[in-house]
Amino acid sequence: MLTIARLTIGEAARRRVLWVLVILAAIAVSLTAWGVSSLISAARENGVTEIEVKFAVSQVLIFIAFMFGFVLAMTAAFFGSPAIATDLESGIAQAMLARPLRRSSYLLGRWLGLAVVIVGYAILAGALAIAVVGTISGYLPPDPILPIAYLAGQALVLLSLTVLLSTRLPPIAGGAIAVVAYGLAWMGGVLGKIGLVIGATTLVSLSDASRFLLPTDALWQGVVYGLEPSFVIDAGAGQFVAEGSPFFAASGPSPAIVAWSVIWVVLVLALAIAQLRRREL
């Protein structure tokens, strides 16, 4: 398994994927730094209070995290969807699987290699963005590690889904399904929040079901919660306008949903292994 994981990481490096990711992260962080410093200087010129600046910066950070989370999810989807399918279509997998290599080791190795690349990217870009914004604005999220961990978690959920799809479907189909599922899960989360505010229980139940089926949105709530300053949480909690917003979370995901996300990944990978074992090569 480690041989295949190492091979997968090597593939990302050799095919310049890693460099593209690093350059993209550098560009994104530079633009963020420029945007935040312009925002702060404009706000201070207009005599905006420090607490309002802090609020604005935290909102910008959440928005950036949302965009980055989306990019990360797409990266996971487009890394994961060809992982197995392309190897099988080209015949690369057959040459390796005729060796004393278990199909489970091959699949988990592919997943692990991609997971290392994606989590590494999430940590690098996330930490850099938070550190740069913190240096410029003086605002640091209460626990900066938490939102990055949730962002990475979201990407791992999607990676696992695409690896599962990759055992049966061609890369484009797998990637497209994963992107649509991610979008639907996010919309499910937003609608669930609105449902909660207006008391529409069916909407809430549907949202809960979507979180059960694909827990990306539950983890997104963790990202939002982790990036908010405590006074925003205190002010927004229980408030109609805040509670319905997709960019506000009065609390992080429950330990149960976090545990379910981990179990979900394990179950999906187990299903992927079973699919690959059953497949005639």
Binding site: T3, R14, G91, I92, A95, L97, A98, R99, P100, E280
Partner: protein
């Protein structure tokens, strides 16, 4: 007590009984029974779609048989330990295009479980063997198809496997490459490996194999030593000056027939040709041409696989020996 080793090098390299494989309504393999011994080069012949690649996939555990059983190196089909001792060149040979040739082979050496210290040496030896030593540092994606096939052959020979399975090993090679492959196959057999050569290139099989099986529609239609599969030798003499009435006098050479101006005696031992010519001359025949030998593998193959097919071209005359 030591556990019984699963992989046995004393037993036949391949031993399968009534192996069947269905893909939906299509019966790809309809009861294959065969045995391949150690040190033997076994040719597995058949037209496209006959079930050759399916057989290879079953032997390697890449696909599962619908029914039947088999052992490879004494272990059940697809056994992980047995696969340590098997080298495989797939029909669709593709290796990681971003890796260098040597890296592909060290990767396969690692998958085989070779110790880290010996991998590079094993890779270099295999590259040398297949004529890619000077390209070991080149990226595989830039290789021609022929070079990729050589690389695949190198991968199949890594670690001196007890069984080498080659699926159409010369499909992308030029004539020089084909000669090289023949040498490589024979060398592998000489060091004791069994070679299972899947091919539809009859001349290749004819030149290198000890035994052959011809498969068609998922069934073996002929198998055995090359000589026995090729059938009996015959002699053809194009002549004038004798008629049907003269034939009984020639029966001591074999059953004679006269087809126009060609006398055919089949079966007939090659060694009797001078005596036959002497007798024909004594009988007043004027001889234009004498041909003697067995049917070529191609001819025999066409006879066997075209029984329930429309004729596809004219078979050539017996090969002169």
């Amino acid at each position: 007590m030591n556990p019984m080793p699963r992989v046995s090098l004393d037993m036949p390299a391949i031993d399968v009984t009534d192996l069947r494989k269905r893909y939906g309504q299509v019966e790809a393999l309809a009861g294959l029974t065969m045995s391949v011994g150690r040190g033997e080069v076994f040719g597995f012949l058949g037209p496209n779609g006959a079930g050759k690649t399916t057989t290879v996939k079953l032997l390697l555990g890449l696909a599962r048989p619908t029914s039947g059983s088999g052992k490879v190196l004494g272990a059940p089909l697809g056994d992980l330990d047995a696969r340590r001792k098997i080298g495989y060149l797939p029909e669709l040979f593709r290796y990681q295009p971003w890796l260098k040739a040597r890296e592909v082979l060290t990767l396969h050496a690692e998958l085989l479980g070779m110790p880290a210290s010996g991998r590079r040496q094993a890779a270099d030896r295999a590259l040398q063997l297949v004529g890619l030593a000077d390209r070991s540092g080149d990226v595989v994606g830039k290789f021609s198809k022929g070079m990729q096939q050589r690389l695949g052959l190198g991968a199949a020979l890594l670690g001196e496997p007890a069984l080498v399975v080659l699926d159409e090993p010369t499909s992308a090679l030029d004539p020089l490459g084909r000669v090289d492959v023949r040498g490589i196959v024979r060398a592998a057999a000489e060091r004791g490996a069994a070679v299972f050569l899947n091919s539809h290139l009859l001349s290749e099989v004819e030149q290198v194999c000890d035994r052959v099986a011809i498969i068609d529609h998922g069934r073996v239609v002929a198998s055995g030593e090359l000589e026995s599969v090729l059938g009996q030798a015959e002699t053809q003499v194009r002549l004038t000056g004798i008629g049907p009435g003269d034939l009984p006098a020639l029966e001591r050479f074999g059953p004679p027939t006269l087809e126009g101006d060609v006398l055919v005696i089949r079966p007939m031992d090659d060694a009797k040709v001078p005596d036959l010519v002497g007798q024909l001359v004594a009988m007043g025949a004027r001889i234009q041409e004498v041909r003697s030998g067995r049917s070529s593998l191609e001819q025999r193959f066409l006879e066997l696989v075209s029984r329930d097919r429309p004729p596809a071209g004219t078979p050539s005359a017996p090969r002169l020996r």
